[in-house]
Protein backbone atom coordinates (compact mmCIF):
# COMPACT_ATOMS: atom_id res chain seq x y z
CA UNK A 1 0.00 0.00 0.00
CA UNK A 2 2.42 2.59 -1.20
CA UNK A 3 0.25 5.33 -2.61
CA UNK A 4 -2.76 7.21 -1.20
CA UNK A 5 -5.20 5.76 -3.73
CA UNK A 6 -4.33 2.18 -2.81
CA UNK A 7 -4.61 3.04 0.87
CA UNK A 8 -8.05 4.61 0.33
CA UNK A 9 -9.16 1.52 -1.58
CA UNK A 10 -8.14 -0.77 1.26
CA UNK A 11 -9.93 1.40 3.83
CA UNK A 12 -13.10 1.97 1.83
CA UNK A 13 -13.59 -1.13 -0.33
CA UNK A 14 -14.30 -4.65 0.96
CA UNK A 15 -11.33 -6.76 -0.06
CA UNK A 16 -11.69 -10.38 -1.27
CA UNK A 17 -12.05 -12.84 1.64
CA UNK A 18 -13.25 -16.45 2.14
CA UNK A 19 -16.76 -15.49 1.06
CA UNK A 20 -15.58 -13.93 -2.22
CA UNK A 21 -13.45 -16.96 -2.96
CA UNK A 22 -16.25 -19.44 -2.25
CA UNK A 23 -18.59 -17.48 -4.52
CA UNK A 24 -16.01 -17.16 -7.30
CA UNK A 25 -15.05 -20.84 -7.36
CA UNK A 26 -18.69 -21.94 -7.16
CA UNK A 27 -19.95 -19.74 -10.01
CA UNK A 28 -17.06 -20.05 -12.46
CA UNK A 29 -17.84 -23.79 -12.81
CA UNK A 30 -21.43 -22.92 -13.71
CA UNK A 31 -21.02 -20.11 -16.23
CA UNK A 32 -20.47 -20.62 -19.96
CA UNK A 33 -18.67 -18.23 -22.34
CA UNK A 34 -21.95 -17.16 -23.99
CA UNK A 35 -23.66 -16.19 -20.70
CA UNK A 36 -24.50 -12.56 -20.01
CA UNK A 37 -23.57 -11.94 -16.38
CA UNK A 38 -24.50 -9.13 -13.97
CA UNK A 39 -22.65 -8.80 -10.68
CA UNK A 40 -24.48 -6.62 -8.17
CA UNK A 41 -22.27 -4.90 -5.60
CA UNK A 42 -18.94 -5.96 -7.06
CA UNK A 43 -16.77 -4.32 -4.39
CA UNK A 44 -13.13 -4.81 -5.33
CA UNK A 45 -14.19 -6.45 -8.62
CA UNK A 46 -12.53 -9.74 -7.62
CA UNK A 47 -15.46 -12.08 -8.38
CA UNK A 48 -16.26 -10.30 -11.67
CA UNK A 49 -12.67 -10.51 -12.84
CA UNK A 50 -12.47 -14.21 -11.88
CA UNK A 51 -15.61 -14.84 -13.98
CA UNK A 52 -14.13 -13.00 -16.98
CA UNK A 53 -10.78 -14.76 -16.63
CA UNK A 54 -12.05 -18.30 -16.02
CA UNK A 55 -15.18 -18.39 -18.22
CA UNK A 56 -14.82 -15.70 -20.89
CA UNK A 57 -18.42 -14.60 -20.24
CA UNK A 58 -19.48 -10.97 -20.66
CA UNK A 59 -19.78 -9.31 -17.24
CA UNK A 60 -21.31 -6.00 -16.21
CA UNK A 61 -20.98 -4.97 -12.56
CA UNK A 62 -22.63 -2.44 -10.27
CA UNK A 63 -21.68 -0.82 -6.99
CA UNK A 64 -22.95 2.16 -5.01
CA UNK A 65 -19.49 2.90 -3.61
CA UNK A 66 -17.36 5.15 -5.89
CA UNK A 67 -14.11 3.62 -4.60
CA UNK A 68 -15.40 0.13 -5.39
CA UNK A 69 -16.39 1.27 -8.92
CA UNK A 70 -12.86 2.59 -9.44
CA UNK A 71 -11.32 -0.64 -8.15
CA UNK A 72 -13.46 -2.77 -10.48
CA UNK A 73 -12.81 -0.48 -13.48
CA UNK A 74 -9.07 -0.81 -12.82
CA UNK A 75 -9.55 -4.57 -13.26
CA UNK A 76 -11.07 -3.87 -16.74
CA UNK A 77 -14.60 -4.62 -15.51
CA UNK A 78 -17.52 -2.70 -17.09
CA UNK A 79 -18.98 -1.01 -14.00
CA UNK A 80 -22.01 1.20 -13.33
CA UNK A 81 -22.42 3.25 -10.17
CA UNK A 82 -25.98 2.54 -9.06
CA UNK A 83 -27.96 1.30 -6.05
CA UNK A 84 -28.39 -2.50 -6.45
CA UNK A 85 -29.56 -2.61 -10.12
CA UNK A 86 -31.70 0.57 -10.25
CA UNK A 87 -30.14 1.78 -13.53
CA UNK A 88 -29.91 -1.63 -15.19
CA UNK A 89 -32.48 -2.83 -17.72
CA UNK A 90 -32.57 -6.00 -19.78
CA UNK A 91 -32.19 -9.62 -18.74
CA UNK A 92 -29.20 -11.72 -17.77
CA UNK A 93 -28.41 -15.44 -17.85
CA UNK A 94 -26.60 -15.11 -14.54
CA UNK A 95 -26.83 -12.63 -11.65
CA UNK A 96 -24.11 -12.87 -9.00
CA UNK A 97 -24.13 -11.07 -5.66
CA UNK A 98 -22.19 -11.13 -2.40
CA UNK A 99 -24.39 -8.68 -0.49
CA UNK A 100 -23.81 -7.24 2.96
CA UNK A 101 -25.34 -10.08 4.98
CA UNK A 102 -24.28 -9.66 8.60
CA UNK A 103 -26.93 -8.69 11.14
CA UNK A 104 -25.78 -5.31 12.46
CA UNK A 105 -26.80 -3.07 15.34
CA UNK A 106 -28.40 0.06 13.83
CA UNK A 107 -26.21 2.26 16.04
CA UNK A 108 -23.12 0.91 14.29
CA UNK A 109 -24.32 1.48 10.75
CA UNK A 110 -23.40 3.47 7.68
CA UNK A 111 -20.55 5.52 9.07
CA UNK A 112 -18.47 4.85 5.98
CA UNK A 113 -18.35 2.78 2.80
CA UNK A 114 -16.76 -0.24 4.49
CA UNK A 115 -19.56 -0.38 7.05
CA UNK A 116 -22.07 -0.14 4.20
CA UNK A 117 -20.40 -3.10 2.47
CA UNK A 118 -20.72 -5.30 5.56
CA UNK A 119 -23.94 -4.31 7.28
CA UNK A 120 -27.11 -6.22 6.45
CA UNK A 121 -29.26 -4.29 8.91
CA UNK A 122 -30.83 -5.74 12.09
CA UNK A 123 -31.76 -9.11 10.49
CA UNK A 124 -28.92 -9.28 7.92
CA UNK A 125 -31.39 -9.09 5.04
CA UNK A 126 -31.71 -5.32 4.47
CA UNK A 127 -30.05 -5.66 1.06
CA UNK A 128 -31.00 -9.28 0.34
CA UNK A 129 -34.74 -8.56 0.34
CA UNK A 130 -34.68 -5.72 -2.24
CA UNK A 131 -32.35 -7.84 -4.35
CA UNK A 132 -34.84 -10.75 -4.38
CA UNK A 133 -37.55 -8.33 -5.51
CA UNK A 134 -35.39 -7.24 -8.48
CA UNK A 135 -34.45 -10.75 -9.67
CA UNK A 136 -37.61 -11.61 -11.66
CA UNK A 137 -37.06 -8.64 -14.01
CA UNK A 138 -33.28 -9.19 -14.26
CA UNK A 139 -33.24 -12.92 -15.04
CA UNK A 140 -34.00 -14.60 -18.35
CA UNK A 141 -36.57 -17.43 -18.12
CA UNK A 142 -33.79 -19.96 -17.60
CA UNK A 143 -31.55 -17.53 -15.76
CA UNK A 144 -30.10 -18.20 -12.34
CA UNK A 145 -28.80 -16.01 -9.55
CA UNK A 146 -25.97 -17.01 -7.22
CA UNK A 147 -26.11 -15.34 -3.83
CA UNK A 148 -23.47 -15.60 -1.11
CA UNK A 149 -25.01 -15.46 2.36
CA UNK A 150 -24.36 -16.98 5.77
CA UNK A 151 -26.23 -19.05 8.29
CA UNK A 152 -26.35 -15.80 10.30
CA UNK A 153 -28.46 -14.23 7.53
CA UNK A 154 -31.33 -16.73 7.98
CA UNK A 155 -31.53 -19.03 4.97
CA UNK A 156 -35.12 -20.13 5.71
CA UNK A 157 -36.28 -16.52 5.85
CA UNK A 158 -34.61 -15.85 2.49
CA UNK A 159 -36.30 -18.91 0.97
CA UNK A 160 -39.71 -17.80 2.26
CA UNK A 161 -39.24 -14.27 0.99
CA UNK A 162 -38.05 -15.55 -2.41
CA UNK A 163 -41.21 -17.66 -2.76
CA UNK A 164 -43.26 -14.42 -2.63
CA UNK A 165 -41.58 -13.47 -5.92
CA UNK A 166 -41.99 -16.98 -7.43
CA UNK A 167 -38.33 -17.78 -6.93
CA UNK A 168 -36.86 -21.17 -5.96
CA UNK A 169 -33.87 -21.33 -3.63
CA UNK A 170 -31.35 -24.15 -3.46
CA UNK A 171 -28.11 -24.43 -1.45
CA UNK A 172 -25.25 -25.43 -3.77
CA UNK A 173 -22.11 -24.79 -1.70
CA UNK A 174 -21.22 -24.41 1.97
CA UNK A 175 -18.07 -23.59 3.87
CA UNK A 176 -17.90 -23.51 7.66
CA UNK A 177 -15.90 -20.62 9.12
CA UNK A 178 -15.81 -19.52 12.79
CA UNK A 179 -19.34 -18.71 14.10
CA UNK A 180 -21.13 -19.20 10.76
CA UNK A 181 -21.34 -21.26 7.59
CA UNK A 182 -20.87 -19.40 4.33
CA UNK A 183 -23.49 -20.53 1.84
CA UNK A 184 -24.00 -20.08 -1.90
CA UNK A 185 -27.67 -20.08 -2.89
CA UNK A 186 -28.83 -20.74 -6.43
CA UNK A 187 -32.06 -18.88 -7.17
CA UNK A 188 -34.22 -19.58 -10.21
CA UNK A 189 -37.70 -18.62 -11.41
CA UNK A 190 -40.60 -21.01 -11.00
CA UNK A 191 -42.04 -22.02 -14.36
Amino acid sequence: MSNPRERLEHEQVYQPAEDSQLLATTVTDRISPTDRVLEIGTGSGYVASQIVEKTGATVVATDINPHACRSAADKQIEVVRTDIADAIKGQFDVVVCNPPYLPTDPDDEFDDWMEYALSGGPDGRALVNPLLEELPRLLTDDGRAYLLVSTLTGIDAITERAAEFDLLVETIAEEPVPFETLTVLKITQKH
Binding site: P66, C69, A87, I88
Partner: protein, 64 residues
Protein backbone atom coordinates in the same frame (compact mmCIF):
# COMPACT_ATOMS: atom_id res chain seq x y z
CA UNK B 1 -17.73 2.53 -20.19
CA UNK B 2 -18.20 0.98 -23.59
CA UNK B 3 -20.77 2.68 -25.81
CA UNK B 4 -22.56 -0.69 -26.13
CA UNK B 5 -23.33 -0.54 -22.38
CA UNK B 6 -26.11 1.93 -23.34
CA UNK B 7 -28.22 -1.12 -24.30
CA UNK B 8 -28.66 -2.08 -20.65
CA UNK B 9 -28.71 1.34 -18.93
CA UNK B 10 -31.88 3.15 -17.88
CA UNK B 11 -32.75 6.15 -15.73
CA UNK B 12 -32.85 4.88 -12.12
CA UNK B 13 -35.81 7.15 -11.33
CA UNK B 14 -38.28 6.20 -14.08
CA UNK B 15 -36.49 3.37 -15.98
CA UNK B 16 -36.76 5.34 -19.24
CA UNK B 17 -33.98 5.33 -21.90
CA UNK B 18 -30.96 7.63 -21.63
CA UNK B 19 -29.30 9.83 -24.26
CA UNK B 20 -25.51 9.71 -24.41
CA UNK B 21 -23.48 12.85 -24.96
CA UNK B 22 -19.78 11.96 -24.95
CA UNK B 23 -17.08 14.62 -24.52
CA UNK B 24 -14.07 12.29 -24.47
CA UNK B 25 -13.90 8.93 -26.23
CA UNK B 26 -11.31 6.37 -27.23
CA UNK B 27 -11.82 4.06 -30.20
CA UNK B 28 -11.16 0.37 -29.78
CA UNK B 29 -11.38 -2.37 -32.40
CA UNK B 30 -14.93 -3.42 -31.68
CA UNK B 31 -16.43 -0.70 -29.51
CA UNK B 32 -16.04 2.93 -28.45
CA UNK B 33 -14.85 3.61 -24.91
CA UNK B 34 -16.58 6.65 -23.37
CA UNK B 35 -14.23 8.32 -20.88
CA UNK B 36 -16.28 11.42 -20.08
CA UNK B 37 -19.71 12.81 -20.88
CA UNK B 38 -23.29 12.86 -19.71
CA UNK B 39 -26.33 10.64 -19.78
CA UNK B 40 -29.67 12.43 -19.92
CA UNK B 41 -33.01 10.79 -19.27
CA UNK B 42 -35.22 11.10 -22.36
CA UNK B 43 -38.29 11.40 -20.12
CA UNK B 44 -37.48 13.33 -16.92
CA UNK B 45 -34.36 15.14 -18.14
CA UNK B 46 -32.19 14.18 -15.16
CA UNK B 47 -28.50 14.39 -16.08
CA UNK B 48 -26.00 11.75 -14.93
CA UNK B 49 -22.24 12.29 -15.32
CA UNK B 50 -19.72 9.86 -16.80
CA UNK B 51 -16.42 10.50 -15.06
CA UNK B 52 -13.18 8.63 -15.59
CA UNK B 53 -15.11 6.15 -17.74
CA UNK B 54 -17.63 5.30 -14.98
CA UNK B 55 -21.31 6.30 -15.37
CA UNK B 56 -22.72 7.63 -12.09
CA UNK B 57 -26.38 6.64 -12.18
CA UNK B 58 -27.23 7.61 -8.63
CA UNK B 59 -30.19 10.00 -8.43
CA UNK B 60 -29.00 13.56 -7.64
CA UNK B 61 -30.14 13.36 -3.98
CA UNK B 62 -28.03 10.23 -3.39
CA UNK B 63 -24.77 11.71 -4.68
CA UNK B 64 -22.43 13.03 -2.00
Amino acid sequence: MKESLMDILACPLDKEPLDLSATDTESNDDDTEVLAGELTCTECGTVYPIEDGIPNLLPPDMRE
